[in-house]
C-alpha cells in the first residue's frame, strides 16, 4: 500500500488563503496540534473553519482564531475561547452557530453524498430562520444542508504508514466524520506502525480516505 507518511515541513503546501478547513476535536481534545501549528505557520488567511468549538485561546484550533487567520467560524460552541466572541462583536470574524448534532450530521451528509437531512432540532428557534420546514407524519423538521471542506485535519492515536487510523477514547469525536467530507485529508497520529500492525477490525478510518500523514506528539 502507498506510504502516506510525510514530514511536517511538507504540509504547508496544502494550505491557501480563503480555504475551508475542517478540524477534529472537542475543546481541543482530538485536535491535531502539529497540523494546526503547520496551518498557523503557513500564514494562510481568510480561512473558514468548521469544527465543534474554538477550544481555548491557546489550545486546539484556538490560536488560529486569536491571531486573525480566520474569516468565518462554523461551530456549536465558542464560549471557552474569548477571542472568538470578541472578534465576532468587533465584526472581524463571522460566526455561524449550529447545534452540535446538526453540525456533525451536516458534515456526515457532505461526506456521504447526501443532499441534506431533516432534523427536529432547532424548530421554533433562531436556528430555523431562513430554513425550509418540512412536516413528516405530523412532526415538523428543518431541512439542513451538507457541509464540505477543502482540507480536513484529523487526529488519530495510531496510524499505519498507509493511513489506516485508530482513535482513542473521547478524542474520536468529529475526526472519522470529517475524514469523509474534505477534498484533502491530512492526519496526525501519535504512533505510526507498519501496514498490517493494525488489525482490519481495529481500523476506524480506512487508509483510502487519507492523503497525507504526519507523526505527531505521542
Amino acid at each position: 500500500m502507498k506510504n502516506k507518511l510525510m514530514e511536517v515541513s511538507d504540509v504547508g503546501r496544502f494550505f491557501r488563503d480563503g480555504m475551508t478547513i475542517m478540524f477534529g476535536g472537542f475543546m481541543g481534545t482530538g485536535t491535531p496540534p502539529t497540523l494546526v501549528k503547520a496551518l498557523e505557520e503557513s500564514g494562510a488567511k481568510d480561512l473558514t473553519i468548521i469544527g465543534n468549538d474554538t477550544a481555548f485561546a491557546d489550545t486546539g484550533i484556538g490560536p488560529l482564531v486569536t491571531n486573525g487567520q480566520v474569516k468565518k467560524v462554523i461551530a456549536s460552541h465558542i464560549g471557552t475561547n474569548r477571542s472568538t466572541g470578541q472578534r465576532m462583536i468587533e465584526g472581524l470574524t463571522e460566526v455561524e452557530l449550529v447545534p452540535q448534532g446538526t453540525l456533525v450530521e451536516r458534515i456526515r451528509c457532505g461526506g456521504a453524498g447526501l443532499g441534506g437531512f431533516l432534523t427536529p432540532t432547532g424548530v421554533g428557534t433562531v436556528v430555523a430562520e431562513g430554513k425550509q420546514v418540512i412536516e413528516i407524519d405530523g412532526r415538523e423538521y428543518l431541512l439542513e444542508l451538507p457541509l464540505r471542506a477543502d482540507v480536513a485535519l484529523v487526529n488519530a492515536a495510531v496510524a499505519d504508514t498507509a493511513g489506516n487510523l485508530r482513535y482513542r477514547l473521547s478524542s474520536r469525536n468529529f475526526n472519522p466524520i470529517i475524514a469523509l467530507a474534505a477534498d484533502i485529508v491530512l492526519a496526525e497520529a501519535g504512533e505510526i506502525v507498519e501496514v498490517g500492525a493494525l488489525a482490519p477490525d481495529d481500523v476506524m478510518t480506512p487508509a483510502a480516505l487519507v492523503d497525507g500523514l504526519i507523526k505527531g506528539a505521542a
Binding site: 456549536s76 466572541g85 452540535q100 456533525v104 456526515r108
Partner: protein, 224 residues
C-alpha cells in the same frame, strides 16, 4: 441544605434504575452524587461515550462534555459524534438534566444565550432537549434580581419549544402534561402562596399536591 443541593437531590429521585442519562454542566452534574440506593444509571457524554465515571488518572484523550478531564466506568463505550447525536435525537437517552435561564408555562426552554451579553453557542443542548425521552430542567426559581424565571412566555431566545417534562426549583416541582403546567410538589417549608408569588407563569395545582420527600438518612447527611 443549599438551594442547589435540594434541587439536585430531588432531580436524582426522578431517575430510574437502568436509565441512560445526560447531565449538563454545573448544578445538573451534582445529581450523580445523590442517586438513591439501588438506582444504577449510565451517564452519556455527548462528545462521544456512554459510562462517565469518577476520575482516577488524568488522560489527555478523555474529557467530559465540559472539556474537563474525567474517568469512565468499567463497561464504558466510546463512539464518534454522529453516533452520539443519533443516540440523543433517536430517543435512546432516557433523561437529560440541564440548567435553565427561563422556562415558560407551555414548556418552552431558554438556556443558551442572552443577546448582547452571553453568546457561547448552544453546543448539544438543542439536540438533547428535542431527543431525550424526559427533559428535566434544574434551576433556581428566581434570577439574582429577584425576578421570576418561570414565565408566561420566555423573552430570551429559545432552546426548544414544548420540550420540558419536569421543572425542579428550590421551591417546587412542576410537570408539563398535555400543554399544561402543573404544580406537583412543594419544597419542604414552602407554601403555595410563596410559589404563586414568585412564579409569573399560570399553572394548575395538582389535586394531590404534596411536599417533596427526602428520606431521613438523606436529610441527616445533608445537615452535616
Amino acid at each position: 441544605m443549599s438551594p442547589k443541593e435540594l434541587i439536585a437531590r430531588r432531580v436524582a429521585r426522578l431517575l430510574n434504575d437502568g436509565d441512560v442519562v445526560n447531565l449538563g454542566i454545573g448544578l445538573p452534574t451534582m445529581v450523580a452524587n445523590f442517586l438513591p440506593e439501588g438506582v444504577d444509571i449510565t451517564l452519556q457524554s455527548e462528545n462521544g461515550f456512554l459510562g462517565i465515571g469518577p476520575i482516577t488518572e488524568q488522560d489527555v484523550d478523555l474529557v467530559n462534555a465540559g472539556g474537563q478531564p474525567c474517568g469512565v466506568v468499567t463497561g464504558a463505550a466510546m463512539f464518534d459524534s454522529a453516533f452520539s447525536f443519533a443516540l440523543i435525537r433517536g430517543g435512546h437517552v432516557d433523561a437529560c438534566v440541564l440548567g435553565g435561564l427561563q422556562v415558560c408555562q407551555n414548556g418552552n426552554l431558554a438556556n443558551w444565550m442572552v443577546p448582547g451579553k452571553m453568546v457561547p453557542g448552544m453546543g448539544g443542548a438543542m439536540d438533547l432537549v428535542v431527543g431525550s425521552k424526559k427533559v428535566v430542567v434544574a434551576m433556581e426559581h428566581c434570577a439574582k434580581d429577584g425576578s421570576s424565571k418561570v414565565l408566561k412566555e420566555c423573552t430570551l431566545p429559545l432552546t426548544a419549544v414544548n420540550c420540558v417534562s419536569v421543572l425542579v426549583t428550590e421551591l417546587a416541582l412542576f410537570e408539563f402534561v398535555n400543554g399544561a403546567m402543573v404544580l406537583k410538589e412543594l419544597a419542604p417549608g414552602v407554601d403555595l402562596a410563596t410559589v404563586q408569588e414568585r412564579t409569573e407563569a399560570d399553572f394548575q395545582v395538582a389535586f394531590d399536591l404534596k411536599t417533596m420527600e427526602f428520606d431521613s438518612a438523606e436529610l441527616k447527611e445533608a445537615a452535616q
